[in-house]
């Protein structure tokens, strides 16, 4: 069932199935990036991945691709294998069978030492932020750079730049315990983005946050996708996250400010696809419009809640 619905590589930009074209400015700014031969190699690819813990099957033949520059939203109820999928990409877990490729490189049988190199290009944002309690916000964000022995002056510059990106420069000297839930996640995002990873993964980043804070987190994901050209996996089960990510795009206006615009009725500019999982399998893969038109009862129940 799963393999039939696996998508084939597509160009990063796609048009709305309802028809319509692409505005000239958008085409200009986006197509420059897209015309790149290594883009046909997916950033992440799963090929028939199986994984079980004891007697329980968590992933049952999972296959999908995340193209370069694309944001893939993974939807699904609790316990359907979403977080496990992300851990597999990082090599924190190993599959029982199947293949996992990151940037075309087969990481399935990589040792921990080999994985360290792959992880350098991956930024991971954990559910609760997973900040190091014993380190200040500065040291948390600087963690990767400190480990690499980067000179302190460069570290400080990069940390401040990243904290500005998540709008938290004021909190630089605080300890994680002093931060609110939303701030912790944003520090987690800043920490994951240090070093400019090509792939960013969000594990339910908005769970338990109030709507404005959740919106801020989604804006960061949109900013990453549209302005930093990162490929990402965004695991969530909240439908408003999906609305933001599939309908809005970030642009820089004349004054240099980043603004978020909604895509038009006839135009789909956002490079975001949706993957829906159930019982360790893909039950849907496609755009948000296709998801909403789906006749599957489980999907409908998931989207509308009844």
């Amino acid at each position: 069932m799963a393999s039939a619905e696996v998508e084939t590589p597509q160009p990063a930009l796609h048009t709305n199935p309802n028809g319509g074209g692409i505005s000239e400015e958008a085409a200009e700014s986006t197509f420059q990036e897209v015309d790149d031969s290594d883009r046909i190699v997916p950033a992440i690819e799963f090929r028939d991945v199986h994984l079980g813990f004891d007697d329980r099957k968590v992933l049952n033949g999972l296959s999908f691709k995340v193209m370069k520059g694309e944001t893939k939203i993974i939807l699904g109820g609790s316990g359907c294998g979403k977080s496990t999928t992300i851990k597999l990409v990082l090599g924190l877990l190993k599959p029982d069978s199947g293949q996992i490729l990151v940037d075309g490189e087969d990481i399935t049988n990589h040792t921990e030492v080999e994985m360290m190199k792959v992880r350098k290009n991956i930024g991971m944002i954990f559910q609760e932020g997973a900040l190091f309690d014993s380190l200040s916000v500065y040291d948390n964000v600087a963690y990767r750079l400190h480990e690499q022995g980067v000179p302190e002056a460069e570290v400080e510059e990069e940390v401040r730049r990243m904290l500005r990106f998540v709008n938290l420069e004021d909190a630089i000297d605080k300890m994680p315990i002093e931060l609110s839930g939303g701030m912790r996640r944003r520090v987690g995002i800043a920490r994951a983005l240090v070093g400019g990873p090509g792939v960013v993964m969000f594990d339910e980043p908005t769970a338990g946050l109030d709507p404005p804070t959740a919106r801020t987190i989604c804006e960061l994901a949109i900013k990453l996708r549209d302005l930093e050209d990162a490929s990402s996996i965004f695991v969530t089960h909240e439908m408003n996250n999906l609305d933001y990510l599939t309908s809005e795009y970030a642009v820089v206006d004349d004054t240099g400010e980043i603004i978020y615009e909604k895509e038009g009725e006839r135009l789909c500019l956002t490079n975001t696809k949706i993957l829906m999982m159930r019982d360790g399998q893909v039950i849907f893969s496609g755009t948000d419009e296709e998801l909403r038109k789906s006749s599957d009862t489980y999907i409908n129940k998931f989207i509308r809640g009844y």
Partner: protein, 255 residues
């Protein structure tokens, strides 16, 4: 899985963890700062309890043995007996048990909380090997600090014995120490330092392993802390017996 299989797996995993932590000991990054910080927490931090334990153990040894020795007219040998018991057995074992309670539980709880709050996963995803960043400094610190703490316990314990002998039993101040000097050999001291080296390694490996395998939220942290302390204590006492026998043979002590 039956209990024997589980036990074997635990022994294997704990050994592998210690081996992985120590294999890259000279590789960069060396984590010297972390190691020194752990030595401070483990060594300096445990000084007070070790001194208290040592002093009163030495004291009670004198208290209990002096009357018996006096009955046989051998009260001038009190210092020798107290020092020998402390240096060979009580110093290493009691220090190891105190450090297990104070440090082993802390290590296990800290690492366990880090597992539960996904900090270990975060560390790995940021390209750091937790076996080297977290386990190695703790193992090195314990292996280096426990022998030093044991020596402190021995010395303070002998002083405790002397205090009781001179104040409660009215022994001449010089007599206690002269019997200590005459009785204790270099081999006793050597054996008394080998033991805590081994205990330090065992306590650190068990505590780190129990912490890192924590699962099941905060309840799991409590469970792994308990397991760490109980396991490490038992391992220390059992190992002590076999080490004592091995040292008797190796150092050619009178049996």
């Amino acid at each position: 899985m039956n209990i024997a299989t589980r036990l074997l797996i635990e022994i294997q995993e704990t050994t592998l963890l210690a081996a992985r932590a120590l294999r890259g000991i000279f590789k960069r990054p060396t984590y010297i700062n972390e190691t020194i910080a752990q030595m401070d927490v483990i060594g300096v931090g445990s000084l007070t309890i070790i001194m208290l334990t040592g002093f009163f153990t030495g004291g009670v040894l004198t208290l209990q043995t002096y009357p018996t020795l006096k009955y046989y007219g051998a009260q001038d040998q009190t210092g020798y007996l107290v020092a020998l018991s402390l240096v060979r057995e009580l110093g290493p074992v009691l220090s190891a048990l105190m450090v297990t309670g104070r440090v082993g539980s802390a290590i296990s709880a800290e690492l366990g909380s880090m597992v539960v709050s996904q900090q270990i996963d975060a560390m790995r995803s940021l390209g750091t090997d937790p076996d080297r960043k977290l386990v190695m400094p703790r193992v090195i610190a314990l292996v280096l600090m426990l022998p030093l703490l044991t020596v402190v316990a021995d010395v303070v314990g002998i002083c405790g014995g002397w205090t009781v002998a001179t104040t409660l039993y009215g022994m001449a101040p010089g007599m206690f120490f002269s019997s200590v000097r005459q009785g204790i050999t270099a081999n006793d001291i050597f054996g008394g330092i080998i033991k805590p080296l081994v205990f330090g390694l065992l306590i650190a490996a068990v505590a780190c392993r129990q912490g890192l395998k924590t699962e099941g939220g905060t309840v799991g942290v409590g469970r792994s802390t308990t397991t760490a302390v109980v396991t490490a204590s038992i391992v220390v006492i059992i190992t002590d017996f076999f080490l004592a026998k091995a040292l008797q043979v190796l150092l050619d002590m009178p049996t």
